[in-house]
Symmetry: C2
Subunit: 371 residues, 2 copies
């Protein structure tokens, strides 16, 4: 085959704060050596894609032309994004598709014609050239849709349990727990006998998690939320939280509940209990500052948690073991649900963009670049 004309989504921020998200055409060369050309069939819009795609641009008042969005980036965000000004950046962390051309190396040739998943970035594209070693061959019974989200959410959920083990923790508290990721975590923890406290914010979400067998689900909208959170932490001994929210006081509330459980039977100390309490902040559903009231003693840690540094630190063996578990369970516990689908143009339509950019639980968009 000869050069392929590919189309891909780009996001470009100008020095004056104008953000342009559009579709660019590009001629891709034939893949050589260890590289393969993938015809992208499905690629999800993850919350972790939205930071690069839109950031905190004012989408509500943006201009939506056919296939192009023009929006304004607020000044503080613009200052924090100086590093990307002027560059048209490809977007889309992960996806799945068919290998339609391959370089001469054996590793590449072996993938010819196969359906693969990968997470190289720039997957909101009709075609993408990637290294063969970065591809995961999908089992025959796994559709592109099921394979599309086989990296970010599954590896993150599994990463939480690996982090818990590495830190010697007993159980997990998870926020925004009815998300696709949260549901995977419920299933992983059930299989691995890890006590899990799920924090959600509506009765509807409580039901979603109860229906898949979650034991401890607490609703932050309930009047007795704090008391019930304490009960659940007391029953599970969970002193490690993974928090998708970030902004506001949820991390502080969780630490306070943990501390009250930990110090309930202790002698009084003005420094609080000696039990280590941890919150790993892995998301930013709320962009306001994290507020820590410090009503939880001195033995605590709040830290950022990010998949890539975690994988680097975990090492090759651990990552391979995690990957294998994902590949073997893509039709089961690692299956994602989508509420809407569409090609690259559809992805940039107002109603779709506003919907998935709201990051609401249950609203997830699947991009099908080749229709």
């Amino acid at each position: 085959m000869s050069a392929t004309t590919a189309r891909h989504i780009y996001s470009k921020l100008d020095a004056d704060g104008t953000l342009t998200v559009g579709i660019a055409k590009q001629n891709l060369p034939e893949p050589t050596g260890s590289r393969v050309l993938i015809e992208v069939e499905a690629t999800p819009v993850n919350p972790s894609d939205l930071g690069l795609l839109f950031g905190s641009a004012d989408l509500e008042n943006a201009q939506f032309d056919d296939g192009t969005i023009t929006a304004q980036m607020p000044a503080p965000a613009l200052r924090a994004m100086q590093g990307r000004v002027g560059e048209a950046m490809p977007v889309g962390i992960e996806g799945a598709g068919r290998v339609v051309a391959a370089g001469d190396d054996e590793a590449a040739q072996k993938l010819m014609g196969r359906r693969v998943a990968c997470a190289p970035g720039g997957m909101y594209a009709t075609h993408r050239i990637v290294e063969a070693r970065d591809c995961m061959t999908l089992p025959d019974d796994v559709s592109a849709e099921l394979g599309a989200a086989s990296f970010v959410n599954p590896m993150t959920a599994l990463g939480f349990t690996e982090t818990l083990r590495a830190e010697g923790g007993k159980g997990i508290v998870h926020t925004a727990a009815a998300s696709n990721l949260g549901q995977m975590l419920v299933k992983i923890c059930a299989e691995d006998d890890i006590p899990l406290v799920n924090i959600v914010r509506s009765d509807e979400q409580v039901k979603i998690l109860r229906d898949i067998g979650a034991k401890h689900v607490v609703n932050s909208s309930d009047d007795d939320f704090f008391a019930r959170l304490k009960d659940a932490i007391g029953e599970t001994g969970a002193m490690t939280a993974f928090d998708a929210i970030g902004g506001g006081r949820m991390a502080s509330t969780i630490l306070t509940a943990m501390e009250q459980v930990a110090s309930a039977n202790d002698k009084y100390s003005r420094y609080g209990s000696s039990v280590m309490k941890r919150v790993h902040v892995y998301g930013a559903l709320d962009l306001s500052p994290i507020e820590l009231t410090r009503s939880f003693g001195f033995v605590w840690t709040v830290s950022g948690w990010l998949l890539m540094p975690f994988l680097t630190q975990a090492g090759r063996d651990t990552v391979e073991r995690m990957r294998a578990r994902v590949r073997d369970n893509l039709t089961g516990m690692f299956a994602s649900q989508y509420s809407a689908r569409g090609d690259l143009s559809a992805m940039l339509r107002r109603e779709n963009a506003l919907s998935y950019n709201a990051k609401k639980t249950g609203e997830k968009f699947l991009v099908t670049p080749n229709g």
Copy 2:
């Protein structure tokens, strides 16, 4: 000798929020076995003592009788202190004095007549019975005043450098850096070749630190504070902070400056740099919530740092090495300065209590329980 009548300071919180701080009499038995009786000569009022002594009680409107303070504890603080309600708690982490009686064990007998320092709590007292193994014999040239504060500040300052090494860090950022502890840290870091960025809040404090040889001193009251902080972090490579302030945005500001230095030469990533940035919060000069703006990527940790858990984790050999260094330098780098002195009654007088409870740099009270 027979029983000794001792007087000591107690702090008692009642269920209705009334805090009483007064002087109690107690008959101490003769020490037996491995225990010794110390006549307390000097014991400092550390910020870390004030939480137990007064907490956030309203001292400004308290009633000061002769030797007794009666104040009101705000409701949120009262809730957090349920564990101590009704109990008259002895106060005073550390101090120095003369061993005036000893049990029969050899370890106790060896201390008879010697001047020792210790940190058993309850040192705001004329006399205190402690275990011989918890006493550090003071060299002959060390006065009780010089030995009184030989534990909390010196071990904390040394603990910072041990923590830095354990985490593989290159340099330290320190806030409230003109304190007694801060000045010790300047001297330790100079001796150990550890780059140190000192953050203070007045020109007067800049001068204090320059006068003892500090290289990097930045004043948070200056208009160009953030730019100068970045410069200092850039020059030192300091990505580990120890923060005495806690409340407000200082931790966030430090992390943001570190991140801007770390990512200056990196390719843009919406997740920020991959350099780990740490803030250890060891104090609470500001009791308001810690606000983290998260303009510093995902690779960061904010955690509580407390001396006792640190020492437990560091292990016996490290602690012994630290103790020996303190003992050998009590007249030098570990000497504390005091702005006022007085006995137990003087300690509870309005003007003194308001002064040391304000935790101002340079204001430090030394209690001399036996006059």
